[in-house]
Point group: C2
Chain length 204, copies 2
Protein backbone atom coordinates (compact mmCIF):
# COMPACT_ATOMS: atom_id res chain seq x y z
CA UNK A 1 0.00 0.00 0.00
CA UNK A 2 1.58 3.32 -0.94
CA UNK A 3 1.96 5.80 1.88
CA UNK A 4 -1.23 7.87 1.79
CA UNK A 5 -2.08 11.41 2.67
CA UNK A 6 -5.01 12.13 4.96
CA UNK A 7 -8.20 13.00 3.09
CA UNK A 8 -9.11 15.72 5.58
CA UNK A 9 -7.34 17.61 8.34
CA UNK A 10 -9.31 17.32 11.57
CA UNK A 11 -10.28 20.37 13.59
CA UNK A 12 -8.90 19.02 16.87
CA UNK A 13 -6.17 21.56 17.71
CA UNK A 14 -3.57 18.78 17.65
CA UNK A 15 -0.27 19.05 15.82
CA UNK A 16 0.51 16.48 13.14
CA UNK A 17 3.01 14.96 15.55
CA UNK A 18 0.43 14.63 18.31
CA UNK A 19 -2.04 13.15 15.88
CA UNK A 20 0.61 10.84 14.47
CA UNK A 21 1.40 9.50 17.91
CA UNK A 22 -2.20 8.90 18.91
CA UNK A 23 -2.70 5.43 20.37
CA UNK A 24 -4.86 3.29 18.09
CA UNK A 25 -7.59 0.77 18.68
CA UNK A 26 -7.61 -1.66 15.77
CA UNK A 27 -10.15 -4.39 15.01
CA UNK A 28 -9.63 -7.27 12.56
CA UNK A 29 -12.94 -8.96 11.93
CA UNK A 30 -14.83 -10.91 9.23
CA UNK A 31 -15.07 -14.58 8.26
CA UNK A 32 -11.84 -14.73 6.24
CA UNK A 33 -8.34 -15.78 7.15
CA UNK A 34 -5.66 -13.32 8.18
CA UNK A 35 -7.29 -11.58 11.17
CA UNK A 36 -4.88 -12.98 13.74
CA UNK A 37 -2.00 -13.38 11.30
CA UNK A 38 -2.13 -9.66 10.49
CA UNK A 39 -2.29 -8.84 14.22
CA UNK A 40 0.82 -10.94 14.88
CA UNK A 41 2.45 -9.29 11.88
CA UNK A 42 1.79 -5.97 13.64
CA UNK A 43 3.37 -7.33 16.81
CA UNK A 44 6.42 -8.24 14.73
CA UNK A 45 6.56 -4.71 13.33
CA UNK A 46 6.09 -3.22 16.80
CA UNK A 47 8.89 -5.42 18.16
CA UNK A 48 11.30 -4.02 15.61
CA UNK A 49 10.41 -0.51 16.87
CA UNK A 50 11.15 -1.54 20.45
CA UNK A 51 7.50 -1.80 21.55
CA UNK A 52 6.68 -3.78 24.69
CA UNK A 53 4.29 -6.45 23.32
CA UNK A 54 1.59 -8.29 25.25
CA UNK A 55 -0.39 -11.05 23.52
CA UNK A 56 -3.53 -12.40 25.18
CA UNK A 57 -5.03 -15.40 23.45
CA UNK A 58 -8.72 -15.70 24.39
CA UNK A 59 -9.17 -19.16 22.93
CA UNK A 60 -8.11 -22.60 24.06
CA UNK A 61 -6.15 -24.45 21.44
CA UNK A 62 -3.09 -26.63 21.31
CA UNK A 63 -1.91 -26.18 17.77
CA UNK A 64 -3.11 -22.80 16.57
CA UNK A 65 -0.73 -19.85 16.83
CA UNK A 66 2.13 -22.14 17.91
CA UNK A 67 4.33 -20.81 15.11
CA UNK A 68 3.63 -17.19 15.97
CA UNK A 69 4.12 -17.82 19.67
CA UNK A 70 7.46 -19.54 19.05
CA UNK A 71 8.75 -16.69 16.92
CA UNK A 72 7.49 -13.84 19.09
CA UNK A 73 8.77 -15.42 22.28
CA UNK A 74 12.11 -16.04 20.54
CA UNK A 75 12.20 -12.35 19.57
CA UNK A 76 11.38 -11.43 23.17
CA UNK A 77 14.27 -13.60 24.39
CA UNK A 78 16.51 -11.95 21.79
CA UNK A 79 15.54 -8.59 23.29
CA UNK A 80 16.42 -9.82 26.78
CA UNK A 81 19.79 -11.10 25.54
CA UNK A 82 20.90 -8.34 23.20
CA UNK A 83 18.57 -5.36 23.69
CA UNK A 84 17.32 -5.62 20.10
CA UNK A 85 13.63 -4.87 19.53
CA UNK A 86 11.27 -4.97 22.49
CA UNK A 87 10.13 -7.38 25.22
CA UNK A 88 7.35 -9.87 24.47
CA UNK A 89 4.86 -11.62 26.73
CA UNK A 90 2.51 -14.25 25.32
CA UNK A 91 -0.35 -15.30 27.57
CA UNK A 92 -2.93 -17.87 26.61
CA UNK A 93 -5.93 -19.51 28.13
CA UNK A 94 -5.38 -23.18 28.68
CA UNK A 95 -5.24 -24.31 32.26
CA UNK A 96 -6.21 -20.84 33.40
CA UNK A 97 -3.81 -18.18 32.13
CA UNK A 98 -0.06 -18.31 31.77
CA UNK A 99 0.51 -15.59 34.41
CA UNK A 100 -1.55 -17.44 37.02
CA UNK A 101 0.28 -20.78 36.60
CA UNK A 102 -2.76 -22.50 38.08
CA UNK A 103 -2.36 -26.24 38.52
CA UNK A 104 -4.67 -28.61 36.71
CA UNK A 105 -7.18 -27.70 34.03
CA UNK A 106 -10.20 -25.50 34.41
CA UNK A 107 -13.35 -25.95 32.39
CA UNK A 108 -14.78 -22.57 33.34
CA UNK A 109 -14.27 -20.84 29.99
CA UNK A 110 -16.42 -17.85 30.93
CA UNK A 111 -14.53 -17.42 34.18
CA UNK A 112 -11.21 -17.69 32.34
CA UNK A 113 -12.31 -15.02 29.84
CA UNK A 114 -13.29 -12.66 32.65
CA UNK A 115 -9.99 -13.33 34.45
CA UNK A 116 -8.15 -12.53 31.22
CA UNK A 117 -10.01 -9.28 30.67
CA UNK A 118 -9.50 -8.26 34.32
CA UNK A 119 -5.75 -8.75 33.90
CA UNK A 120 -5.73 -6.76 30.63
CA UNK A 121 -7.64 -3.93 32.41
CA UNK A 122 -5.08 -3.93 35.22
CA UNK A 123 -2.22 -3.72 32.73
CA UNK A 124 -3.90 -0.96 30.71
CA UNK A 125 -4.29 1.06 33.92
CA UNK A 126 -0.61 0.48 34.75
CA UNK A 127 0.50 1.08 31.13
CA UNK A 128 2.37 -2.22 31.08
CA UNK A 129 2.61 -2.69 27.29
CA UNK A 130 2.86 -0.54 24.16
CA UNK A 131 0.87 -2.98 22.01
CA UNK A 132 -1.80 -5.40 23.21
CA UNK A 133 -2.99 -8.20 20.92
CA UNK A 134 -6.34 -9.43 22.25
CA UNK A 135 -6.69 -12.46 20.02
CA UNK A 136 -10.23 -13.84 19.48
CA UNK A 137 -11.52 -11.37 22.07
CA UNK A 138 -14.74 -10.72 20.10
CA UNK A 139 -16.08 -14.13 21.17
CA UNK A 140 -16.26 -13.70 24.98
CA UNK A 141 -17.81 -10.27 24.32
CA UNK A 142 -20.42 -11.68 21.93
CA UNK A 143 -21.20 -14.57 24.27
CA UNK A 144 -21.89 -12.07 27.05
CA UNK A 145 -19.06 -13.32 29.25
CA UNK A 146 -17.29 -9.97 29.15
CA UNK A 147 -19.42 -6.81 29.34
CA UNK A 148 -19.09 -4.77 26.14
CA UNK A 149 -19.81 -1.48 27.98
CA UNK A 150 -16.93 -2.20 30.36
CA UNK A 151 -14.66 -2.95 27.39
CA UNK A 152 -15.68 0.24 25.57
CA UNK A 153 -15.27 2.42 28.66
CA UNK A 154 -11.90 0.88 29.53
CA UNK A 155 -10.49 1.19 26.02
CA UNK A 156 -11.76 4.76 25.52
CA UNK A 157 -10.30 5.84 28.83
CA UNK A 158 -6.99 4.01 28.65
CA UNK A 159 -4.13 6.27 29.72
CA UNK A 160 -0.90 7.06 27.89
CA UNK A 161 0.04 5.67 24.53
CA UNK A 162 -1.13 2.06 24.32
CA UNK A 163 -2.09 0.45 21.00
CA UNK A 164 -4.67 -2.34 21.08
CA UNK A 165 -5.53 -4.86 18.34
CA UNK A 166 -8.63 -7.02 18.76
CA UNK A 167 -9.33 -9.98 16.47
CA UNK A 168 -12.31 -12.25 15.89
CA UNK A 169 -15.46 -12.65 13.85
CA UNK A 170 -18.55 -10.45 14.24
CA UNK A 171 -16.97 -7.59 16.17
CA UNK A 172 -19.60 -5.93 18.39
CA UNK A 173 -21.01 -2.72 16.82
CA UNK A 174 -19.97 -0.69 19.88
CA UNK A 175 -16.41 -1.94 19.46
CA UNK A 176 -16.45 -0.99 15.77
CA UNK A 177 -17.86 2.42 16.76
CA UNK A 178 -14.92 3.34 19.03
CA UNK A 179 -12.19 1.69 16.91
CA UNK A 180 -9.77 3.86 14.94
CA UNK A 181 -9.17 1.20 12.32
CA UNK A 182 -11.42 -1.69 11.36
CA UNK A 183 -10.57 -4.21 8.67
CA UNK A 184 -12.93 -6.93 7.58
CA UNK A 185 -11.27 -10.06 6.23
CA UNK A 186 -13.69 -11.67 3.78
CA UNK A 187 -13.34 -15.22 2.61
CA UNK A 188 -13.39 -15.36 -1.18
CA UNK A 189 -12.08 -18.90 -1.48
CA UNK A 190 -10.73 -21.33 1.10
CA UNK A 191 -9.07 -24.72 0.63
CA UNK A 192 -11.32 -26.27 3.31
CA UNK A 193 -14.29 -25.63 1.02
CA UNK A 194 -12.90 -28.17 -1.41
CA UNK A 195 -11.74 -30.66 1.17
CA UNK A 196 -8.26 -29.31 1.86
CA UNK A 197 -7.29 -29.71 5.53
CA UNK A 198 -5.09 -27.40 7.54
CA UNK A 199 -1.36 -27.96 7.18
CA UNK A 200 1.95 -27.36 8.90
CA UNK A 201 3.45 -23.94 8.26
CA UNK A 202 0.22 -22.60 6.83
CA UNK A 203 -2.37 -22.96 9.55
CA UNK A 204 0.02 -23.41 12.47
Amino acid sequence: MPKGQPLTVPDDNLTTRQRRNRPLLMVHTGDGKGKSTAAFGMALRGWSQGFDIGVFQFVKSAKWRVGEQTVLERLGALHDETGEGGPVQWHKMGSGWSWSRKAGSTEDHAGDAVAGWTEVKRRLAEQTHDLYVLDEFTYPINWGWVDVDDVVETLRGRPGHQHVVITGRRAHPELVEIADLVTEMTKVKHPMDVGQKGQRGIEW
Copy 2:
Protein backbone atom coordinates in the same frame (compact mmCIF):
# COMPACT_ATOMS: atom_id res chain seq x y z
CA MET B 1 -10.30 -19.26 14.13
CA PRO B 2 -11.12 -22.72 15.46
CA LYS B 3 -9.59 -25.58 13.51
CA GLY B 4 -12.20 -26.48 10.89
CA GLN B 5 -13.20 -29.68 9.24
CA PRO B 6 -13.52 -29.81 5.45
CA LEU B 7 -17.08 -29.33 4.24
CA THR B 8 -16.68 -31.97 1.54
CA VAL B 9 -14.20 -34.72 0.78
CA PRO B 10 -12.92 -34.33 -2.78
CA ASP B 11 -12.98 -37.20 -5.26
CA ASP B 12 -9.31 -36.87 -6.21
CA ASN B 13 -7.88 -40.23 -5.11
CA LEU B 14 -5.47 -38.45 -2.77
CA THR B 15 -4.92 -39.48 0.83
CA THR B 16 -5.59 -36.88 3.54
CA ARG B 17 -1.83 -36.63 4.00
CA GLN B 18 -1.25 -35.95 0.30
CA ARG B 19 -4.03 -33.39 0.31
CA ARG B 20 -2.72 -31.85 3.52
CA ASN B 21 0.71 -31.38 2.02
CA ARG B 22 -0.50 -29.83 -1.21
CA PRO B 23 1.39 -26.63 -2.01
CA LEU B 24 -0.91 -23.62 -1.82
CA LEU B 25 -1.31 -20.49 -3.88
CA MET B 26 -2.71 -17.77 -1.63
CA VAL B 27 -3.92 -14.30 -2.62
CA HIS B 28 -4.52 -11.40 -0.21
CA THR B 29 -6.43 -8.69 -2.00
CA GLY B 30 -8.94 -5.86 -1.34
CA ASP B 31 -8.64 -2.21 -0.34
CA GLY B 32 -8.16 -2.77 3.39
CA LYS B 33 -5.08 -3.02 5.53
CA GLY B 34 -3.50 -6.32 6.49
CA LYS B 35 -2.80 -7.89 3.07
CA SER B 36 0.97 -7.69 3.36
CA THR B 37 1.02 -7.86 7.15
CA ALA B 38 -0.83 -11.19 7.06
CA ALA B 39 1.57 -12.45 4.37
CA PHE B 40 4.57 -11.55 6.53
CA GLY B 41 2.80 -13.18 9.47
CA MET B 42 2.67 -16.34 7.35
CA ALA B 43 6.39 -16.02 6.64
CA LEU B 44 6.95 -15.81 10.39
CA ARG B 45 4.90 -18.97 10.90
CA GLY B 46 6.72 -20.73 8.06
CA TRP B 47 10.08 -19.72 9.55
CA SER B 48 9.19 -21.43 12.82
CA GLN B 49 8.49 -24.62 10.83
CA GLY B 50 11.90 -24.41 9.16
CA PHE B 51 10.62 -23.20 5.78
CA ASP B 52 13.07 -21.54 3.40
CA ILE B 53 11.47 -18.10 2.90
CA GLY B 54 11.87 -15.80 -0.11
CA VAL B 55 10.27 -12.34 -0.04
CA PHE B 56 10.04 -10.32 -3.26
CA GLN B 57 8.81 -6.79 -2.80
CA PHE B 58 7.40 -5.49 -6.10
CA VAL B 59 7.15 -1.88 -4.97
CA LYS B 60 9.70 0.85 -4.43
CA SER B 61 9.53 2.37 -0.99
CA ALA B 62 11.94 3.45 1.68
CA LYS B 63 9.87 3.19 4.83
CA TRP B 64 7.18 0.60 4.24
CA ARG B 65 7.90 -2.96 5.37
CA VAL B 66 11.11 -1.87 7.12
CA GLY B 67 9.94 -3.41 10.39
CA GLU B 68 9.00 -6.72 8.79
CA GLN B 69 12.23 -6.81 6.80
CA THR B 70 14.32 -6.15 9.94
CA VAL B 71 12.62 -8.92 11.88
CA LEU B 72 12.57 -11.52 9.10
CA GLU B 73 16.19 -10.91 8.18
CA ARG B 74 17.08 -11.11 11.89
CA LEU B 75 15.27 -14.46 12.06
CA GLY B 76 17.15 -15.59 8.95
CA ALA B 77 20.46 -14.64 10.60
CA LEU B 78 19.36 -16.50 13.73
CA HIS B 79 18.84 -19.56 11.55
CA ASP B 80 22.32 -19.21 10.07
CA GLU B 81 23.83 -18.86 13.56
CA THR B 82 21.88 -21.46 15.54
CA GLY B 83 19.94 -23.61 13.07
CA GLU B 84 16.61 -22.45 14.54
CA GLY B 85 13.75 -21.92 12.07
CA GLY B 86 14.56 -21.52 8.39
CA PRO B 87 16.66 -19.31 6.11
CA VAL B 88 15.22 -15.99 4.90
CA GLN B 89 15.95 -13.92 1.82
CA TRP B 90 14.33 -10.51 1.39
CA HIS B 91 14.61 -8.95 -2.05
CA LYS B 92 13.19 -5.59 -2.97
CA MET B 93 13.04 -3.35 -5.96
CA GLY B 94 14.93 -0.15 -5.39
CA SER B 95 18.00 0.34 -7.48
CA GLY B 96 17.21 -2.77 -9.45
CA TRP B 97 16.83 -5.83 -7.22
CA SER B 98 18.84 -6.84 -4.18
CA TRP B 99 20.27 -9.95 -5.88
CA SER B 100 21.56 -7.97 -8.86
CA ARG B 101 23.40 -5.31 -6.80
CA LYS B 102 23.24 -3.01 -9.79
CA ALA B 103 24.97 0.33 -9.25
CA GLY B 104 22.97 3.53 -9.45
CA SER B 105 19.21 3.86 -9.63
CA THR B 106 17.00 2.66 -12.42
CA GLU B 107 13.78 4.38 -13.35
CA ASP B 108 12.55 1.52 -15.52
CA HIS B 109 9.85 0.21 -13.16
CA ALA B 110 8.32 -2.05 -15.80
CA GLY B 111 11.72 -3.52 -16.60
CA ASP B 112 12.42 -4.03 -12.90
CA ALA B 113 9.09 -5.81 -12.44
CA VAL B 114 9.84 -8.15 -15.36
CA ALA B 115 13.34 -8.81 -14.00
CA GLY B 116 11.79 -9.65 -10.62
CA TRP B 117 9.26 -12.05 -12.10
CA THR B 118 11.95 -13.69 -14.28
CA GLU B 119 14.02 -14.35 -11.16
CA VAL B 120 11.00 -15.74 -9.27
CA LYS B 121 10.28 -18.06 -12.25
CA ARG B 122 13.89 -19.26 -12.22
CA ARG B 123 13.69 -19.99 -8.49
CA LEU B 124 10.32 -21.77 -8.78
CA ALA B 125 11.83 -24.02 -11.49
CA GLU B 126 14.82 -24.74 -9.22
CA GLN B 127 12.61 -25.12 -6.10
CA THR B 128 14.72 -22.60 -4.21
CA HIS B 129 12.22 -21.68 -1.49
CA ASP B 130 9.39 -23.32 0.45
CA LEU B 131 7.38 -20.09 0.73
CA TYR B 132 7.43 -17.15 -1.68
CA VAL B 133 5.90 -13.83 -0.65
CA LEU B 134 5.28 -11.82 -3.84
CA ASP B 135 4.37 -8.53 -2.19
CA GLU B 136 2.30 -6.05 -4.25
CA PHE B 137 2.66 -8.36 -7.26
CA THR B 138 -0.91 -7.67 -8.45
CA TYR B 139 0.14 -4.21 -9.66
CA PRO B 140 2.73 -5.12 -12.35
CA ILE B 141 0.24 -7.76 -13.55
CA ASN B 142 -2.64 -5.28 -13.72
CA TRP B 143 -0.48 -2.67 -15.41
CA GLY B 144 0.37 -5.20 -18.12
CA TRP B 145 4.08 -5.23 -17.29
CA VAL B 146 4.01 -8.90 -16.39
CA ASP B 147 1.89 -11.23 -18.54
CA VAL B 148 -0.91 -12.78 -16.49
CA ASP B 149 -1.01 -15.91 -18.71
CA ASP B 150 2.68 -16.47 -18.04
CA VAL B 151 2.08 -16.05 -14.29
CA VAL B 152 -0.87 -18.46 -14.31
CA GLU B 153 0.98 -21.09 -16.35
CA THR B 154 4.11 -20.83 -14.20
CA LEU B 155 2.25 -21.04 -10.90
CA ARG B 156 0.01 -23.93 -12.02
CA GLY B 157 2.99 -25.89 -13.27
CA ARG B 158 5.41 -25.17 -10.44
CA PRO B 159 7.19 -28.35 -9.35
CA GLY B 160 7.51 -29.83 -5.87
CA HIS B 161 6.01 -28.32 -2.76
CA GLN B 162 6.30 -24.55 -2.98
CA HIS B 163 3.78 -22.23 -1.29
CA VAL B 164 3.18 -18.83 -2.85
CA VAL B 165 1.44 -15.78 -1.32
CA ILE B 166 0.59 -12.86 -3.59
CA THR B 167 -0.60 -9.52 -2.17
CA GLY B 168 -2.08 -6.38 -3.67
CA ARG B 169 -5.35 -4.72 -4.60
CA ARG B 170 -7.59 -5.88 -7.45
CA ALA B 171 -6.13 -9.35 -7.97
CA HIS B 172 -6.57 -10.39 -11.60
CA PRO B 173 -9.58 -12.75 -12.07
CA GLU B 174 -7.34 -15.42 -13.61
CA LEU B 175 -5.14 -15.30 -10.52
CA VAL B 176 -8.19 -15.64 -8.26
CA GLU B 177 -9.35 -18.54 -10.44
CA ILE B 178 -6.23 -20.64 -9.90
CA ALA B 179 -5.66 -19.65 -6.24
CA ASP B 180 -6.35 -22.15 -3.45
CA LEU B 181 -7.08 -19.46 -0.90
CA VAL B 182 -8.23 -15.90 -1.54
CA THR B 183 -8.93 -13.40 1.22
CA GLU B 184 -10.30 -9.94 0.57
CA MET B 185 -9.31 -7.33 3.15
CA THR B 186 -12.05 -4.71 3.21
CA LYS B 187 -11.59 -1.31 4.77
CA VAL B 188 -14.39 -0.61 7.22
CA LYS B 189 -12.72 2.35 8.89
CA HIS B 190 -9.25 3.84 8.55
CA PRO B 191 -7.55 6.58 10.60
CA MET B 192 -6.42 8.35 7.40
CA ASP B 193 -10.09 9.01 6.63
CA VAL B 194 -10.27 11.30 9.64
CA GLY B 195 -6.89 12.92 9.17
CA GLN B 196 -4.72 10.45 11.07
CA LYS B 197 -1.31 9.99 9.44
CA GLY B 198 0.76 6.83 9.41
CA GLN B 199 2.88 6.23 12.48
CA ARG B 200 5.95 4.37 13.69
CA GLY B 201 5.30 0.78 14.73
CA ILE B 202 1.87 0.75 13.10
CA GLU B 203 2.47 1.51 9.43
CA TRP B 204 6.20 0.75 9.36
